[in-house]
């Protein structure tokens, strides 16, 4: 049964079954991808190149590497949140042990130029890790990569399953002691019911991927076009074209993200925010900081399969008066 689940997941991702490792989470998968590569390539060097807008789990692995004496080079992004492939390529060196670049950004939806960066990595023999948590089951994946991490939760599967893919021939060594499970890449027994559910969810997602992406992307286009028409001083974030189909983020000038989030919640919309007032650490999102865009009044809308056209229409109706009201409260109209 485990073999069947592995084969099914491998088929969707377009890899060999034995290249797939099931992990307890997408976070674990990302940590393993990074630390396992850096461990295996220790003799090549201790330099790790990573984009500034990776998911915090990738950046946490980078911090660990730096704490252990390794070098970490962070590549900045442009205003839409994308890395410049030439700038990224220029940071690669003969002693670069690993490069990481997400398939698409989890906060603003911008798709990264993974194939261009991957091609530069190939020239120098540097392996590239792609955190594809946002893309697996939603969009076609990039072609040029060596390791991939993803999370079943993000593709509609259960919490408790992550996926690590290590392509054949890529040097990788577990940072943990090995056992007989998962080809020695993830110690401890696999939670079979969860993995079966994860594989079934991905297969179902993959069957509807194209149709669903087209539908949701149309709704995102509508939101992106309508927000600036309906609300003054709103910055719609991310790349309008090279983006995920289901995600849109924007920032409203002079509005507190937390207040906006609360008001939308009251109106029946569950959204996320990268504003500092919404974070437990009271710091703004590292993604918004790296992009140099407004961090306050930030809202991220993630459309799931159950979202209908009417829901988006109602969202676009309720948002403008909410923003106007919050601006009035702080005396910021017309500023």
């Amino acid at each position: 049964m485990l073999d069947g689940a592995r084969a099914a997941v491998a088929d969707v991702v377009g890899v060999r079954a034995e290249e797939v490792t099931f992990c307890p989470s997408g976070t674990t998968a990302a940590h393993l991808a990074v630390l396992g590569s850096l461990t295996a390539r220790r003799r090549v060097g201790a330099s790790y190149v990573v984009s500034a807008v990776e998911h915090s789990c990738v950046l946490a692995a980078a911090r660990r590497h730096a704490d252990d004496g390794g070098q970490v080079t962070t590549i900045g992004v442009n205003r839409t949140g994308a890395v410049d492939p030439e700038e990224y390529a220029a940071a690669l060196r003969a002693d670069t042990a690993l490069a990481s670049l997400q398939s698409a950004n989890h906060e603003v939806g911008t798709v990264q130029p993974v194939d261009e960066v991957g091609a530069a990595c190939r020239e120098l023999g540097v392996p590239i890790h792609v955190d594809a948590a946002q893309s697996v089951g939603r969009t076609p994946l990039p072609d040029t990569w060596d390791l991939l991490s993803a999370s079943a939760r993000k593709w509609g599967g259960p919490t408790g399953v992550g996926m690590l893919v290590v392509r054949r021939g890529v040097r990788w060594r577990s940072p943990w002691p090995e056992d007989e499970h998962e080809f020695g890449r993830m110690p401890g027994p696999v939670p079979l019911p969860l993995v079966l559910a994860a594989a079934a969810a991905l297969e179902a997602r993959a069957r509807e991927q194209e149709r669903e992406a087209t539908r949701l992307s149309g709704l995102v286009d509508l939101i992106r076009a309508e927000l600036p028409r309906r609300i003054p001083d709103v910055e719609v974030l991310g790349d309008p074209v090279r983006r995920l189909p289901h995600l849109v983020a924007f920032s409203c000038l002079y509005v507190a993200g937390e207040a906006l989030q609360t008001a939308l919640d009251r109106a029946g919309f569950s959204v996320s925010s990268g504003s500092s007032c919404s974070s437990s650490a009271l710091t703004p999102s590292h993604v918004l900081e790296a992009m140099g865009v407004l961090t306050h009044g930030n809202v991220r809308v993630s459309l799931h399969g159950g979202v209908a056209d009417e829901d988006v229409a109602r969202f676009l109706e309720v948002l403008p008066p909410i923003v106007e009201d919050l601006r009035r409260t702080v005396g910021a109209q017309g500023l």
């Binding site: 002079y254 504003s275 500092s276 007032c277 703004p284 500023l335």
Partner: protein
């Protein structure tokens, strides 16, 4: 630093209040003059430059102040 025509102390204020304060008061100085806003909210480091970009004002820079940061903005319009 001493050339700032207006100083605003927004320390202790959370986003977006320091930016609102700047927007409310920038009209008090002549075009071409500097304004210094002291803020300790970490979001200010990104939000002042972003506001200047959106409002076509000049973000001059940031310097450490006591337990906070002093942000310099030049009024251009």
């Amino acid at each position: 630093m001493s050339e700032a025509a207006l100083r605003i102390d927004a320390s202790g204020q959370l986003c977006p209040l320091p930016v609102i304060e700047l927007a409310k008061r920038i009209g008090e100085v002549e075009i071409g003059s500097l304004i210094e806003v002291v803020a300790d909210d970490p979001a200010a480091a990104t939000d002042f430059p972003a506001w200047c970009r959106m409002r076509e004002q000049e973000f001059v820079g940031a310097v450490p102040a006591q337990n906070a940061t002093a942000y310099l903005i030049r009024r251009l319009r």
